[in-house]
C-alpha cells in the first residue's frame, strides 16, 4: 500500500527527534565524564550549548554553569532541542502514525516519554543524571531494535531510517565542528596534557572509542579521530556511514532521483572537508558546509515526498 505523505513526514520527524534526544544524552553524558577528569579551572560547559544547535541561547554567565547547562539540555521546556522536548516531539509524531507502527514500538516511545517527563527535572543533578541519560540512550536504541526486528521493510521503515541517519550525521558534524575544532585550534607548541582525555571524550560522545581503537590500532591522535568520524563508512555513526545508509534507503523509495542527487551532493561536500582534518578553523567551516548540504537534503526530501 502506498504511503501517505503526511505519515511519511511524521515518521521521518519522529525518527529525527528520538535520535536527537539520544545523541544529546550521549554528548552530555560523555562530556560530564571527561570534565570529571579535568582540573576545575578548565571546566567549560558552553560548547554543549553550541553543539545543541539551538537558536535559544543561554546568557553567557549561565553557559559556564554545569547545573544550568544540564537543565537547559535535559529538562528545559523553552529549549526546543531539550531531551524532554525531543522525546515528546517524537512521541507526538508517532502518535499520529500509530496505525503503521508495530504496537511495541509505540509502547517503547510512550514508556520513554512517561519516564522522561517524570524524571527529567530531578535528573539534572549530577548524581542522578547519568542513569537518566543512560536510560534515554537505551530506550532509543530499543525503539530501533523493535522496528528493525519486527517491521516490514516498507516505505514507512525507510522513512524512519532516513530520519535517523540524517539526524545522526548532523550530530556528528556538530560534535566535530565544536569540540574537535576547539581541540585542534590550541596554539602550536602548547602541550595539553589533557588532550588525549578530551579526544577520548569526543569519541565517547559518539560511542566511537572502541571502534576507533579497533580500526586504527594506534594512539589517540586528533586528526585520525576526525578522519575516522568523517570518512570510515564502516562505522555507523560516521558521516560517510550515515550517508551510505541513506543511499540504501532512498533506493527503496519511489521517484528518488532528486533525493539521491542531494545525498551525492552532501557526500561531495564531505569529501571536500578531507584537508580540514588537522586544522581547527578549517574543520569548523567544513562542518558548517556539510550541515548546509544536509539541510538541503532535508528540503529536497520534503519537496519530493510531502508537498509535491
Amino acid at each position: 500500500m502506498a504511503l501517505l505523505s503526511r505519515v511519511a513526514d511524521r515518521m521521518y520527524w519522529a525518527a529525527r527527534y528520538v535520535e536527537r534526544a539520544e545523541d544529546s544524552a550521549r554528548v552530555l553524558r560523555s562530556y560530564g565524564d571527561v570534565l570529571a577528569d579535568l582540573p576545575i579551572s578548565t571546566s567549560r560547559w558552553h560548547p554543549l550549548v553550541t553543539i545543541s544547535g539551538s537558536d535559544v541561547h543561554l546568557p553567557a554567565v549561565a553557559e559556564s554553569d554545569e547545573a544550568q547547562v544540564a537543565q537547559f539540555l535535559i529538562s528545559d521546556r523553552e529549549h526546543p532541542n531539550s531531551i524532554v522536548n525531543s522525546v515528546d516531539n517524537s512521541r507526538e509524531n508517532l502518535r499520529t502514525c500509530r496505525e503503521v507502527l508495530p504496537r511495541e514500538a509505540w509502547q517503547t516511545i510512550n514508556d520513554l516519554s512517561i519516564y522522561v517527563r517524570g524524571a527529567a527535572v530531578t535528573s539534572v543533578e549530577r548524581r542522578r543524571r547519568d542513569r537518566f541519560l543512560a536510560r534515554v540512550i537505551d530506550e532509543s536504541r530499543r525503539l530501533d531494535g523493535v522496528l528493525t526486528s519486527t517491521m516490514t521493510r516498507d516505505e514507512v521503515f525507510e522513512m524512519w531510517r532516513l530520519g535517523r541517519y540524517i539526524e545522526r550525521a548532523d550530530m556528528t558534524t556538530r560534535v566535530l565542528g565544536v569540540r574537535a575544532a576547539g581541540l585542534l585550534s590550541q596554539p602550536e607548541g602548547s602541550v595539553d596534557e589533557f588532550a588525549e582525555v578530551q579526544w577520548m571524550g569526543v569519541l565517547r560522545s559518539l560511542s566511537a572509542l572502541q571502534m576507533y581503537q579497533r580500526a586504527t590500532r594506534g594512539p589517540i591522535d586528533g586528526p585520525a579521530v576526525v578522519r575516522f568520524l568523517l570518512f570510515d563508512h564502516r562505522f555507523p555513526r560516521s558521516v560517510a556511514g550515515c550517508l551510505a545508509e541513506m543511499r540504501t534507503s532512498i533506493l527503496r523509495l519511489p521517484e528518488y532521483s532528486t533525493v539521491l542527487g542531494a545525498i551525492e551532493a552532501a557526500d561531495r561536500q564531505l569529501r571536500q572537508s578531507r584537508p580540514a582534518a588537522d586544522d581547527g578553523a578549517a574543520l569548523d567551516a567544513a562542518m558548517e558546509s556539510v550541515q548546509m548540504a544536509l539541510a538541503r537534503l532535508d528540503a529536497v526530501m520534503h519537496e519530493q515526498y510531502v508537498v509535491h
Binding site: L3, L4, S5, R6, E99, E155
Partner: protein, 487 residues
C-alpha cells in the same frame, strides 16, 4: 444478588476469588492494570482549561458479567433493531412508504435536525446506511435490558472494549481459564470485511481509509486503533482529494492513489464543505459528489443520523413491526410523545416522576429529571412542553442496575450502562457484550469518561455458570439462566 443475599452462580467464582485474594491484592492488580494502560498508551482526549489533554483510560478491574443465553437474545434483538432502522433510513430518503402508510408523521421528518435533504434518492449498497452503530442499553429495576438510545452517526468506544479485554486477561487470568468468556477480538476483522463490501462494483482489493478529524478529537485513539487493526490508512481531510472524475484519492509519496471506502469519523455536517458546512476544515470537498456517483463507499452513510433522534426513537418498535413483521426482541424505554394530546396530558400530570428530554439535543443537554427538579423548574419545563410539544419526549425514571466496583471505600455497587456495537451490511454482527461504563461516584448516574466515569470489561459467559454445576450440556433452562444474569 439473589433474594436471599447469596451471589448469583455466574458471579460466584469471581466473588470467591476476590474473597480469597483479599482487597489488598485486588488493589494491587488494579494498580498493575492502570500501569498497563498508561504504558500501552490507551488514552482518550479531554478538553480542559483551553488545552487538549491525552488522558489514561479509566478502567475498573472488576468485570461486569452477563449471561450467555440472555446475550444471545440481545444479539438477535440488536441485529433486528438495526435492520429495521436501516430500512427506515433508506425509506425516508427514497419512497417514504412509512409516511404514506400513516405510520410515521411527515412533519417530524422535516423537523429532524439530522435529516439531510442532500441524501434524497441515494441508494447505498444493501440498502444500509448505518453500518456501524452503538446502541446504549440499560438494565432497569425489573431486570430487563432496555434500549436507551441508538447511536447511528459516529459511535465510539469499541477500541476500549478490545483494550479492556487485553488488560482484564492479565488481571484475572485464573477466571479466563475456568470460564468460557466470549471473545471480543473478532470485531476489527468483521469491520474490515464490512467496509470492504462497501467498495464500488468492480473494485477488487479495495483501499479503505479511516477519516479522522485529527489528533485533538476525543476519540483519536480509537480512530488510530481501528486503522491499525485493519491495516487501513488513517487519513485527515487534507490527505484526501476528489478529482474531476468524481473519484476520491489520497496523497501519497507517489502521488494520488484511489480510495474505495471511507470509514468517516467526522460528523456529516463537516465531511464535505462543498455540500454542507462551507467553513469545515476537516472534510473533503466533493466527497458527497463522489458518493452519490457511486465511486466511493461511505460508512456510516451521510444522513444516517436521521433515525438517531430522541423523538424518532419512540417509533422504532413500530418500524420493526412495519418493515420486518416481527415483534421487538428488546424493548424501548416507554416514551411519551408530547406532540400527541393524550400522551402530553399524561406527561404534564406526572411530570414529577418522569425524565423530560428535548428531541433535538444531545449529550444530556436540556434534560429535566422530575424527581430532582424544584417546583419552579418543573413549572418552567411544563411551560416549555406546552409551548413546543413536538420538541419533547418523556420517559419514566429508570432504576439503573449496579455492579460491584473497586472504589476508595472498597468494592461497592455502582450504576452502569452498556454500549454494544452492531455492524450491519449484507449480514449483521454484534460484539459479545460491549463497553460497560460505570459511574464511580456513589448514587451517580453519570457514566461519561470525560466526567469521571469509568469502564469495565464485559464478560458474556457461557456455561458452566456455577463451579458446582459443571454439566457441560447444562440442565438449566433459558429462562432460569436469564433470571440469574448479573449486571
Amino acid at each position: 444478588m439473589e433474594a436471599d443475599g447469596s451471589p448469583r452462580p455466574i458471579a460466584r467464582e469471581l466473588i470467591d476469588l476476590i474473597h480469597r485474594i483479599g482487597l489488598e491484592e485486588v488493589r494491587e492488580r488494579q494498580r498493575v492494570s492502570d500501569l498497563d494502560i498508561l504504558t500501552m498508551g490507551i488514552s482518550f482526549t479531554v478538553y480542559s482549561d483551553g488545552e487538549n489533554i491525552d488522558r489514561a483510560w479509566p478502567f475498573d478491574i472488576v468485570p461486569r458479567l452477563i449471561d450467555g443465553a440472555e446475550w444471545s437474545v440481545v444479539e438477535l434483538g440488536l441485529a433486528q433493531r438495526l435492520r429495521a432502522l436501516n430500512r427506515f433510513i433508506d425509506d425516508v430518503y427514497n419512497d417514504q412508504e412509512i409516511i404514506a402508510d400513516g405510520i410515521f408523521p411527515a412533519d417530524l421528518l422535516e423537523d429532524s435536525a439530522n435529516y439531510r435533504p442532500e441524501c434524497r434518492g441515494v441508494r447505498p449498497k444493501f440498502g444500509v446506511w448505518a453500518h456501524i452503530s452503538g446502541s446504549d442499553l440499560v438494565r432497569a429495576g425489573d431486570g430487563q435490558l432496555y434500549v436507551l438510545e441508538d447511536n447511528l452517526r459516529v459511535p465510539s468506544g469499541v477500541s476500549y472494549v478490545l483494550e479492556n479485554r487485553g488488560v482484564a486477561k492479565r488481571a484475572f487470568p485464573e477466571l479466563f481459564q475456568q470460564h468460557l468468556i466470549r471473545p471480543v477480538d473478532g470485531y476489527t476483522d468483521e469491520l474490515n470485511k464490512l467496509l470492504a463490501s462497501l467498495a464500488p462494483e468492480g473494485r477488487t482489493d479495495p483501499t479503505i481509509v479511516v477519516l479522522t478529524p485529527g489528533i485533538f478529537n476525543s476519540a483519536y485513539f480509537e480512530h488510530s486503533f481501528l486503522a491499525q487493526r485493519m491495516g487501513a490508512e488513517l487519513v485527515e481531510g487534507q490527505d484526501l482529494v476528489v478529482g474531476d472524475d468524481d473519484c476520491v484519492y489520497m496523497r501519497t509519496i507517489q502521488g494520488l492513489e484511489r480510495v474505495d471506502v471511507v470509514y468517516r469519523r467526522i460528523d456529516d455536517l463537516f465531511i464535505d464543505p462543498e455540500a454542507f458546512n462551507p467553513d469545515s476544515m476537516l472534510g473533503v470537498a466533493g466527497l458527497m459528489r463522489a458518493w452519490k456517483a457511486g465511486n466511493v463507499g461511505i460508512a456510516n452513510a451521510p444522513g444516517a443520523g436521521v433515525a438517531d433522534d430522541k423523538c424518532v426513537y419512540a417509533w422504532v418498535p413500530d418500524m420493526i413491526r412495519y418493515y420486518l413483521g416481527e415483534e421487538p426482541l428488546i424493548p424501548n424505554v416507554p416514551t411519551y410523545r408530547c406532540m400527541y394530546d393524550e400522551e402530553r396530558d399524561f406527561v404534564l400530570a406526572n411530570i414529577g416522576e418522569l425524565v423530560l428530554k428535548p428531541a433535538n439535543e444531545s449529550g444530556g443537554y436540556g434534560i429535566v429529571i422530575g424527581s430532582r427538579a424544584t417546583p419552579e423548574e418543573l413549572e418552567t419545563a411544563a411551560a416549555a412542553v406546552r409551548a413546543d410539544p413536538r420538541n419533547w419526549v418523556a420517559q419514566p425514571i429508570l432504576d439503573l442496575s449496579t455492579a460491584p466496583t473497586l472504589v476508595d471505600e472498597g468494592i461497592e455497587p455502582r450504576h452502569l450502562d452498556l454500549r454494544p456495537f452492531i455492524l450491519t451490511g449484507e449480514h449483521s454482527y454484534v460484539t459479545a457484550g460491549g463497553l460497560t461504563r460505570v459511574a464511580l461516584t456513589k448514587g451517580s448516574l453519570v457514566v461519561n469518561s470525560s466526567q469521571g466515569g469509568g469502564s469495565k470489561d464485559t464478560w458474556v459467559v457461557d456455561g458452566p455458570l456455577d463451579g458446582a454445576a459443571t454439566a457441560p450440556n447444562g440442565t438449566q433452562t433459558n429462562s432460569q439462566m436469564q433470571n440469574q444474569a448479573n449486571g
